[in-house]
């Protein structure tokens, strides 16, 4: 079953366009949603949550159309928006007391459990929490109302490596039972190398590719060659950089002849992102 099914979502802004965004997330998995700043990650997430009106397209969550079942589906969605704060001068306790009233399946025992597990003190004000604690608080809320789909926008941005690693472990534990699915946007690609099952890559408002992580990485090759070899592959490269040793460029694996004498390696997610961004500089 699909936890999230985004189909042909299109939205025009002056100066920016979300073009035919489509991707699917299977239930029980973590999908990393990557792209540079301004690539359209947050806009896509806001379209999923029905916060902005799309010009075209459809979003289905847990098999139901979001437009038609918004209220019912929002009961099943948990969210954490990194870097956006709400009612920071209020105590967690006060905020929770207000929030829990909105959810039919709120479970006080589960909430108390998550607070303990995440070492959160209810009497602290939101402003007193570290960035990592805030994400954990959002997760505690989401999990206590029985959210099946977690939509996390940049949850690890601004966190130190220790807290990031800690959170990633939490994410992985959550999906173990196969009930919870996570869509997780970030520009810190190393996080995804650790915990994502699927990768969806958005660039300049368009989905470049959405697939299983290893397949995603495996579909590209990073080439290192001498400048003299550049001519052999130049028109097939997604983009390249020239340095004093020669050139480095990204190519679709299908476009690359493994028999070639150019040295090819598997790129990291970060390298894929960078070379795609560079492509625009060339053409833009």
């Amino acid at each position: 079953m699909l936890a999230l099914d985004v189909r042909n979502v299109t939205k025009n802004y002056p100066g920016f366009q979300l073009k035919d965004v489509s991707f699917q997330l299977e239930k029980g998995y973590i999908m990393g949603f990557i792209g540079a700043n301004g690539a359209g990650k947050t806009t896509t997430i806001k379209s999923i949550l029905n916060m902005i009106h799309v010009d075209r397209g459809e979003v289905r969550i847990l098999g139901k159309n979001m437009d038609e079942h918004e209220l019912e589906l929002k009961q099943e969605i948990g969210y954490a928006f990194g870097g956006v704060d709400f009612y920071t001068r209020s105590k967690m306790k006060t905020l929770t007391d207000v929030i829990k009233r909105f959810y039919a399946k709120w479970d006080d025992a589960a909430y108390a459990n998550y607070l303990r597990r995440f070492k959160l003190d209810e009497n602290k004000k939101i402003a007193e929490l570290s960035a990592g604690m805030k994400v954990k608080y959002s997760l505690a809320l989401a999990l206590s109302h029985g959210a099946k789909l977690l939509i996390l926008d940049e949850p690890t941005s601004g966190l130190d490596p220790v807290s990031r690693d800690d959170l990633l472990d939490v994410f992985q534990e959550l999906v173990v039972d196969g009930e919870i699915s996570i869509l997780f946007s970030t520009h810190i690609t190393s996080d995804l190398e650790k915990c994502a099952d699927f990768i969806t890559f958005i660039d300049n408002g368009q989905i470049i590719r959405s697939s299983e992580k290893d397949e995603f990485i495996g579909s590209y090759r990073l080439l290192n060659g001498k400048e003299s070899q550049l001519g052999q592959v130049k028109d097939r490269l997604i983009s390249h950089k020239i340095n004093s040793f020669g050139f480095t460029g990204l190519i679709h694996a299908r476009d690359f002849d493994p028999a070639s004498d150019i040295q090819a390696t598997t790129p990291s997610l970060e390298e894929i992102m960078i070379y795609f961004a560079k492509r625009e500089d060339h053409h833009g």
């Binding site: 209220l71 929002k74 956006v84 709400f86 009612y87 920071t88 207000v98």
Partner: protein
Amino acid sequence: MVNLLVKDLKLGVNPMFLVMPLLTGALMLVPGWLYFLVLLYFCWITIPNMFAGFRTQNDLMFTSMMPVTKKDMVKARVSVIVILELLHIVVAMIFGVINTHLYPNLVYYFFAPSMGFWGLCFVMLAIFNIIFIAMFYKTAYKYGQAAFASIGAAMLFAGVAQWIGVESPYVSDIFNGTGRDDMGLQTSILAAGIVIFIVLTMIAYRMAVKRFLKVEIQ
């Protein structure tokens, strides 16, 4: 809807604004003052501060994530405004009664705190609501222009009404002269004011919902 109302009262509205009616209401004890001002303090102080609070705390986004309809979001917010307005007006009315007992022989230059006067106050708040609520929900976060226009209109109404009350012997007689003891007349002015308040606020709510449905939450 009730949950949203609780949310606003617990998180969004500073308790200070719930006590304000007592403070501004006490201004009714100033003998012979221009009593429209008592309620205008609500428009001048409570409204801009409260809406600034909602904006700084990202209330719009916070609320949009909840399983609630946009219609209920507007309904709850309009209810908060109306509840505060009623608190202000009812407390002011009580202080108005104390006023008339404290100063039985006072000659009022401006409107005396009669029931008819409170009817005019309801009309003033009705004018404020229809402009403020309808304008605010074009964006659901920019409150400045809406506050400026609505407060201006409410003040204009109060100013003109009061000017007529001073200048026209007929109107002066209704509110401050013999008409003040005519319970039937006074109650009907109050009733008419309340009806105008309800009608204009309902229209404001409907316009706000229509506009808010088109708002994108950024």
